[in-house]
């Protein structure tokens, strides 16, 4: 019987468990799948970010600048004086623990340093040491610690392991927002040239060519025209979008992910069809061809630099107002930063729907309207002919994207649209939607493939709730209003809940929209046969 391994032998296993030390004294370990590739120097140079060089997080030497401590110290001091939020959040946390089990990365990975309170303490401990009396005198007893290279590595590991989703801040009695701390934490890291490729490359591309992939203007136009052909195949209707057109009434901006990556492309087809059907006088821009803003994941300044294109282009083209597509963090930037950073938009007019005459009172100053608001208003006024049954092959649920949820409060509009374009809609359990929604696990620039393992952990709570409605109601389609979601939820579903696909809301609108002059539709926008049309499809082949 001695040959049977004992339980405690198995638990010891082959992994080396480090001796139990307090969190301050436990350095991080960079294992594959849990960290992102570092930013390439050419991309840093394009936008003038500091310390461009080739390095990797698994190197021992991160090639920090000589005076890196001083840089961090000065950077901290500057930000304490510029942001009340930051200063306050450094000072007032009582570590009550209400946030601890609210983080999707904590729930999915079990790593205690992923508790939001601890993520903030990583930075607070250094702040205390240098900026508070108690920390200076009492040191560790006051929760202060010395800034070392290991601490910086820990910051890198954990500030690029937070998706700035703000779920913890909903439950904090003082409204401490970990996103705010992560944003500043990443700003500090950027001062030392510590950033990730999946953020800096889109930033550089967006800066130079207007969008994340660096698609040049002619190719951008070409892509959209490609979808025009696809729409004609499905509906028989020929659409003629315009680009960079002066004098259009409305400028439309959406994340470029919709143009280049499935399934966002189908959502884009939905936009095109809708605008055509209602005869909207609008234009695309190749200069402002990116709604997303990875500057938000770099620094406040970079966010402003990238965002400036929206107003600049609206002004140059002389439009009346701007319409924005389905995107998550883009809408955080528009709702909470854009007007302040790059406004006032006094060259634009207060947005009014040209179709219904509705004044968008809530966008009076920013002059930018969310497409889902716009569509909800169209439906409310009966301006769209919708055939819900064309989505009957789908059982749909809705993922509230973090930013429209917790930085905007955008809950009813998408649900109203969904309920008007499909017959089978089922919400997920209440503590996983609306302001309590779980992040996709890949937001804030972490949607890169080398990070897949961590993304699967972070996305587990979301997937788990989808699985519930999948099993209960046979849900097979997860809808969302965020381009990052559309890119990252498919692999998440593929791993955790096979059989559930991902869509934007306007793809479903496009399916249901009855267009003038269309031929009988036999497939949806993806070329999947509609219910009852399974046979008629074969002739095409």
């Amino acid at each position: 019987m001695a040959s049977v391994p004992k339980a405690n032998e198995l638990i010891a296993g082959t992994d080396h468990k480090p001796p139990k030390t307090g969190w301050m004294d436990t350095p991080v370990e960079f294992r594959p799948g849990t960290w992102c590739y570092s930013g390439k120097s050419k991309n840093l140079e394009v936008v003038g970010l500091p310390n461009p060089r080739e390095w990797s997080p698994i190197d021992d030497d991160w090639k920090l600048p000589e005076n890196w401590k001083e840089i961090i110290f000065e950077g901290l001091r500057e930000r304490i004086h510029k942001y009340r939020s930051f200063q306050l959040f450094m000072d007032i946390c009582v570590r009550c623990g209400a946030c601890a089990d609210k983080c999707h990365f904590f729930i999915g990975s079990g790593d205690p340093k992923n508790m939001p309170v601890l993520r903030a303490e990583l930075l607070r401990s250094v702040y205390r040491k240098d900026f508070t009396l108690a920390g200076k005198i009492l040191g560790k007893m006051a929760g202060a610690r010395e800034l070392t290279e290991d601490v910086v590595k820990e910051w890198f590991f954990y500030f690029f392991q937070c998706t700035e989703c703000r779920r913890c801040s909903v439950f904090c009695p003082y409204g401490i927002d970990t996103a705010e701390i992560t944003i500043i934490g990443r700003e500090l890291l950027n001062l030392l040239g510590l950033n990730i490729d999946w953020i800096t490359a889109p930033v550089a591309n967006c800066y130079m060519t207007g969008n994340h992939l660096g698609i040049q203007p002619h190719a951008f136009k070409d892509m959209i025209e490609f979808f025009v052909e696809e729409i004609e195949e499905v509906t028989g209707v020929k659409i003629e979008p315009t680009f960079n057109r002066k004098g259009a009434e409305i400028l439309f901006i959406t994340p470029s992910g919709d143009v280049f990556a499935d399934p966002g492309t189908y959502t884009l087809m939905g936009y095109l069809m809708l605008f055509h059907e209602i005869g909207l006088d609008y234009t695309w821009s190749t200069y402002a061809s990116e709604g997303g803003n990875f500057g938000l994941f770099t620094s406040h300044e970079m966010m402003k630099r990238l965002n400036s294109k929206m107003y600049a282009e609206a002004k140059r083209l002389g439009v009346k107002w701007i319409l924005g597509g389905e995107c998550g963090h883009m809408w955080r930037v528009i709702n909470q930063y854009m007007d302040t950073m790059n406004g006032p938009a006094d060259f634009l007019e207060e947005p009014v729907s040209p179709i219904t005459g509705t004044k968008f009172e809530n966008a009076k100053s920013t002059k930018m309207v969310h497409l889902v608001e716009f569509t909800a208003d169209l439906i409310k006024h009966g301006k769209l002919k919708l055939d819900k049954s064309r989505n009957d092959h789908l059982k749909v649920t809705f993922h509230d994207s973090c930013n429209p949820a917790r930085a905007m409060g955008f809950f009813e509009e998408p649900r109203y649209v969904l309920n008007n374009v499909c017959n089978h809609f089922y919400d997920m359990p209440p503590n996983t939607i609306r302001e309590q929604t779980f992040c996709c696990g890949s937001g804030s620039g972490l949607n890169t493939d080398e990070y897949m393992e961590m993304r699967m952990r972070g996305g587990l709570p979301r997937a788990n709730a989808v699985k519930h409605v999948h099993e209960q109601h046979g849900v097979n389609m997860l809808s969302c209003i965020c381009a990052i979601d559309r890119a990252v939820l498919p692999p998440l579903m593929n791993y955790w809940v096979p059989g559930v696909d991902v869509t934007g809301v306007h793809e479903l609108v496009g399916n249901a929209l009855v267009m003038e002059g269309e031929h009988e539709r036999t497939t949806d926008l993806r070329g999947e046969p509609l219910e009852g049309m399974e046979d008629s499809d074969n002739e095409d082949l």
């Binding site: 303490e121 929760g143 203007p217 136009k221 294109k309 600049a312 302040t340 809950f411």
Partner: protein
């Protein structure tokens, strides 16, 4: 380690007061000088900290929205969780400050077999927090009777409400029990829940021990080893009217109590206890979500380097012309 250190620190404080009064007889130091100094530190420190926070600008309007935004007339806005006006924001703040609303949201839901959902009562933290803060507040109000002559009506009222049980003599105050129970709960929670223990610092244990010591010495004085109330009032009135005197024979317990209070006051502005003032300033709660409606001004907004349309066209002009895209300069 943090626990031991904090406990020893508080015990040392008790010992210092005991020896100082009992052995060396420095009654004036502990009865007058230390309280004055502590009060001075508290007041200036508190004001300094608030001003320091208030001086830091709020560059962006970043409320955490926990309900439906202001939208069309036919969409019901959740005004308290996502306010768009000043008034509603005051409402949100009031619920936050007076009822700890965010903490209350800490509901957990239980899924039993099948589709039946039941809500589990997971609000102990909220309840203990509320009990602690309110009983502390009431106890402070009750203590005003030592500093005022005649004692104002609201203090009498508070006392009689607090002592409505009319148990024992002198009458038992509910808040004394609640206070000690809540502090005990908050402490046990930190020790027993592994994740709480992991995040707790000495700075979390120390105030709890201090408050517990305060409560215990207070309770001892009131219900067990009586001190001379008349003389205590004499001392307190002296402090309040800036004519300090230290009457003989008050009892050392009182000086220990007073020394712990003094420590609390002096420690307050330099610690997490400042959340008392900070909660009012939190930009994720005290701003309406109206930055699309009204422009929020960032006082340090500065111009940044951008890639202009002209530069962009220069980069791609030929390709744009070839693709039939309009250009500014042919």
């Amino acid at each position: 380690m943090g626990i031991k250190f904090s406990l020893l620190a508080v015990l040392a404080l008790v010992l210092v007061a005991f020896l100082g009064v009992e052995a060396i007889g420095m009654n004036y130091l502990f009865g007058v000088l230390v309280p004055y100094l502590a009060f001075f530190l508290f007041l200036t420190g508190f004001i300094y900290r608030i001003l320091k926070w208030a001086r830091a600008p709020v560059p962006f309007r970043i409320p955490t929205t926990s309900g439906q935004q202001k939208s069309f007339s036919w969409v019901k806005q959740n005004k308290l969780d996502n306010p768009s006006t000043k008034l509603a924001t005051v409402g949100r703040m009031a619920l936050e400050v007076l009822l700890f609303r965010s903490l209350f949201k800490n509901t957990k839901m239980e899924f039993r077999q099948g589709p039946k959902i039941s809500y589990q009562w997971e609000k102990w933290l909220w309840l203990a927090g509320l009990a602690f803060h309110y009983s502390f507040f009431i106890i402070v109000v009750r203590h005003l009777r030592f500093f005022m002559e005649p004692v104002p009506g609201f203090v009498h009222l508070t006392e009689s409400l607090d002592g409505f049980l009319q148990l024992g003599l002198p009458g038992l105050y509910i808040t004394d029990l609640l206070f000690l129970a809540a502090v005990t709960y908050l402490f046990i929670r930190r020790v027993v829940i592994p994740q709480m223990r992991y995040i707790s610092l000495p700075a979390d244990y120390f105030p709890l021990f201090l408050l517990f010591g305060l409560g215990v010495t207070g309770v001892l004085m009131r219900y067990f080893t009586k001190v001379d109330i008349v003389k205590v009032k004499e001392l307190a009135m002296g402090l309040a009217t800036l004519h300090p005197t230290v009457p003989e024979g008050i009892g050392v317990l009182f000086f220990i109590h007073l020394f712990l209070v003094s420590t609390l006051m002096a420690y307050f502005p330099f610690s997490k206890l400042m959340h008392l003032g900070g909660v009012f300033l939190s930009p994720t709660r005290n701003l309406p979500n109206d930055s699309r409606i009204r422009r929020h001004i960032n006082p340090w907004n500065y111009p940044v380097k951008v890639h202009t349309y002209e530069e962009y066209e220069d980069d791609f002009r030929e390709k744009m012309i070839e693709a039939g895209l309009p250009v500014e300069k042919e």
